[in-house]
Amino acid sequence: MLVSRRLILGASGTLALPGILRAQGTAPIRIGEINSYTSNPAFTLPYRNAMQLAVEQINAKGGVLGRQLELITRDDAGRPQDAVRLAGELVNDQKVDVLAGAYLSNVGLALGEYAAQNKKLYVGGEPLTDSMVWEKGNRYTFRLRPSTYMQAAILAEEAAKLPAKRWATVSPNYEFGQSGVRWFKQLLSAKRPDVTYVGEQWPALGRVDAGATVQALEAMKPDGIFNVLFGPDLTNFVRQGNTRGLFERRSVVSLLTGEPEYLDPLGDEAPEGWIVTGYPGEQIDTAAHKAYAADYRRRFNAKPMCGSLVGYALIQSIAAGVAKAGSTDVEKLVEGFRGARFDTPVGNCEYRAVDHQGTLGVFVGKTALKGNAGVMTDWRYIDGKDLLPGDDFVRGLRPASAN
């Protein structure tokens, strides 16, 4: 909390010194980053911290192509139209070489559209919507984080192993929630033709009437519940569910709930035994992750969140893509990013050439209580490439112009 406070006051701005006249070739490589810093601070502030950390570390090792990295961040206030305007500022005024960022799916799509229309490279970090690299994919847009499909796919796989036959779903009523539920049902039914869906709840995003929703789910008498609620909606839902006994003797499979951003606020009411996707944080004991987590703690005096991992990996992926391209020319960048491999704290990943989707993987596990806080247990990491559908399927989704 203290750290974020200081960083908020630190304001958006540039990291490296903004020189005016620089000889071509030694000028820094500028990354223009746009995100919902004021409207979704819980996720984006740790994310920005980690980006800064990654930029500092890469620069300390001599930068990329012999040039330093420079990060310029902007706040889109949760409005895609603002993001597009600021993208214009970053490209035309700040002369950035790479556009990056977005937390919200619609901001990611808007920036992707901007990139396509203006022929600029855009690397999305956090947006989850599948269409960003599939139906609405384009030549200039890449995306790092595992998509809604990937997260739903692993949960469907886990759900198929359960005895539960009668499933109910609860999801915020907008694109993310709707596609999460759609994929989950489709993939689960494919594996388990015997399951039935006994009902759906669609609270409006950010305004869940938790008591009534829980009561309605209870009345459906499901064996299993698939949940896509997150943030304050999730907190309200879990509390009412706990008190009303909704989760007792039932399987719950839940998207994103294992991310500390959403699990931590639940405190001692964090549910036990939910199958979730998320991020186990400092439990990960690979050398790479330990080093990263230690650096992060030292630098910000806070534990790394899921957003931190995404921010850190995003910068790493950009550095690798630019290095592979060997130039900041946009067409060369596109070719360079395609198939670019990069290290992240959780393993080596790649931007797939076929759909520009990063293969950053998904942690899946169970929630448990440790002391007064929720944690992920029995977790495992599934490489993103194992979660993605085959190349032919993906090619069929992407517009021809995206190649």
Binding site: A11, S12, P41, E113, N173, A216, A219, R244, D268
Partner: protein, 613 residues
């Protein structure tokens, strides 16, 4: 169905929570006539302060009660500060400026809260008694929700006693009916207003603190709750406590059963209820007709033809705008393009709000309908940009005609709230009906034709359309129709007595404003290349209000100046500081206090100094 009883009780608990917030809002409105946008922020502060206090206390019930009471006092105190520092200075300003000031407060408090408590949501750890339940109809029902069910009526009862059994309450009721009369009775209005605001704020704080065991203190409370609270207050009848209570029950119960029966449209349901109630009861369930403000007839100054100096200035500005692409860089060109859109957006709102006298809180609806009309035509039949630009005003105009039929039956704040409800319905459709509108992923690929792809060419196009549109609307204002519209606003009774059809005049104003606004939405969409439901949010509607009011409601140049100032200010602030909401909010409050007639209005006053208007 054995779940009817628990669902009903759940609805009642929700109703109680709603009532706590709405009661404060309606009391404040009743006495001060201020539409307090910052009421949701007060509830949010109540939640955060409650969290800070309660987490430091033992978890037993008696400490909980104590902590909640302390929170109520703290929020009431904040209310006092707010009233003394900001609102007291704007009571004399026109009603809508007060709303503007409270919106500035919302922005400031968003950043202050983030700064004090950080970005992470803060749920209150629940003691064991807060997790208890009772068996009702075979289901477990939270004990705390039972307590909430009781709190609503108890608070209503206490407020009733306060209002009907104390001298202070009598004064408050009298002030609700007739503010001037209370002043004439020699009552200190200042103290009364401050006390009323403190009471309202305290109730918001109570609502915030009592929401903690079921949810968390988070940064989204303010805007989420304020629309619900507005709906309750309007449905109940502005200023009526009992009305607010009845409306809370109605909405709470409908919500609870709506979730079971039509889970996908709960968001729309609330606003539909409000629209239906207002159509049949234009003053809410238990509201009285609003007394016509006594100063209304002298409020609006004469609109005269612009003096030659101003015309020269306008022509110079236009020439400068035409030459701009040769002067500024590409980014500022997009900012200027946005400014062109903002001008048409603001001018169209001004048309129905200034001369038309109908303040819309949902102007972004037309913007969005125009945008989506262009986008959907592109998606369905591949309509090119010229077709989209033509279809947008037509579509927005047609919807405006249907909607106008309902709106012109109302007046004042009720009218504004119906426009808000309508905009929320449009927003919800765009946000939730993913199959058609693409949901929040929006409509992408709105490509400009080759001839307009160049940023300069598109800027000139936007400039031509928006200035052309603005001049056309201005022309109408100086033509008989515009005069008749103004006549209907100045005095509806007189207008009818000389044979004017007031309702038709107003519907046509809404159609014209809607069409012009729809055009601005389409221009904007082609500029950005994509369309999103965020074009229709409340905050976008409020931006239109900000532009018009900042510029000045009673001058034709006002909305143009307001649009330019606001666009420039927002752009600079967003790019220079993470605390842009704080600064923008503070600037808005300062402007409202310094220029209650808007920037253009203030300039006009300076210009006319020493002369008769």
């Amino acid at each position: 169905m054995d779940s009817i009883l628990p669902q009903l009780l759940t609805g009642l608990a929700g109703a109680s929570s709603l009532f706590l917030v709405a009661s404060g809002l309606t009391i404040i409105f009743g006495v001060t006539r201020i539409v307090n946008f910052s009421h949701g922020s007060l509830m949010m502060l109540g939640a955060y302060i409650g969290w800070s206090i309660l987490t430091r206390l033992p978890r037993e019930p008696e400490w909980f009660v104590l902590g909640v009471l302390a929170t109520v006092l703290a929020t009431a105190l904040i209310g006092v500060v707010l009233e003394v520092v900001v609102l007291r200075r704007v009571y004399r300003a026109p009603e809508l400026f007060q709303l503007l000031a409270t919106f500035g407060v919302v922005l400031v408090l968003q950043d202050v809260t983030l700064w004090l408590w950080g970005p992470v949501e803060l749920p209150l750890p629940r003691g064991r008694w807060l997790r208890q339940f009772v068996e009702i109809g075979g289901s477990r029902f939270p004990m705390y929700d039972l307590i909430l069910i009781l709190v609503g009526p108890v608070v209503l009862g206490l407020l009733w006693l306060l209002m009907n059994r104390t001298r202070w309450g009598t004064l408050v009721r009298a002030a609700t009916l007739d503010r001037e009369m209370v002043a004439a009775l020699g009552v200190n209005q200042r103290t009364l207003f401050t006390a009323v605001f403190a009471l309202g704020a305290g109730l918001a704080g109570l609502g915030g603190a009592l929401s903690l065991p079921n949810s968390s203190a988070n940064l989204n409370i303010d805007l989420a709750i304020i629309t619900d609270a507005f709906v309750v207050v309007v449905v109940g009848g502005l200023g009526s406590l009992t009305g607010a209570f009845v409306a809370s029950l109605l909405i709470g119960i409908l919500q609870a059963f709506g979730i079971v029966l039509v889970p996908k449209i709960t968001l729309v349901l609330v606003f539909l209820v409000m629209a239906v109630v207002l159509v049949f009861r234009p003053n809410g369930l238990l509201g009285r007709p609003q007394a016509e403000a006594r100063e209304a007839t002298v409020a609006a100054p004469v609109i005269r033809a612009a003096p030659p100096e101003l015309r020269a200035l306008g022509v110079a500005a236009l020439l400068l705008a035409i030459a701009a692409p040769f002067i500024v860089g590409e980014y500022y060109l997009t900012v200027l393009t946005d400014a062109c859109v903002a001008i048409l957006f603001a001018v169209s709102l001004h048309f129905m709000m200034g001369p038309g006298g109908m303040a819309s809180f949902g102007h972004a609806a037309w913007f969005g309908i125009g945008a989506y009309a262009a986008g959907l035509l592109m998606q369905w039949i591949g309509a090119p940009m010229p077709v989209g630009l033509l279809a947008a005003p037509v579509a927005a105009g047609i919807v405006a005609a249907l909607f106008g039929w309902f709106v012109v039956r109302l007046s004042g704040v009720y009218l504004s709230m119906l426009t808000l409800a309508f905009a929320q319905i449009v927003w919800a459709i765009c946000f939730q009906w993913v199959d058609v509108t693409g949901g929040d992923n929006g409509l992408l690929g709105l490509v400009r034709p080759a001839w307009a792809h160049d940023a300069r060419v598109f800027y000139w196009l936007a400039l031509a359309l928006s200035v052309g549109g603005a001049l056309l609307l201005r022309r109408m204002l100086y033509a008989p129709y515009g005069y008749a519209l103004r006549a209907a606003r100045d005095s509806a009774a007189r207008a009818r007595a000389i044979g004017l059809d007031v309702q038709s005049l107003r519907i046509v104003a809404i159609v014209i404003a809607g069409a012009a606004c729809g055009l601005s939405g389409a221009i904007f969409s082609y500029g950005k290349g994509s369309i999103f439901p965020t074009y229709i949010t409340i905050s976008h509607s409020v931006e239109a209000l900000l532009m018009v009011l900042l510029g000045g409601l009673q001058t034709v140049a006002g909305p143009i100046i307001g649009a330019l100032v606001y666009t420039g200010l927002a752009d600079i602030l967003v790019r220079s500081t993470d605390l842009w909401r704080l600064v923008l909010g503070a600037v808005i409050v300062l402007l409202v206090v310094a220029f209650p007639e808007g920037i253009a209005g203030a300039a006009r006053r300076l210009w006319l100094r020493g002369r008769e208007a």
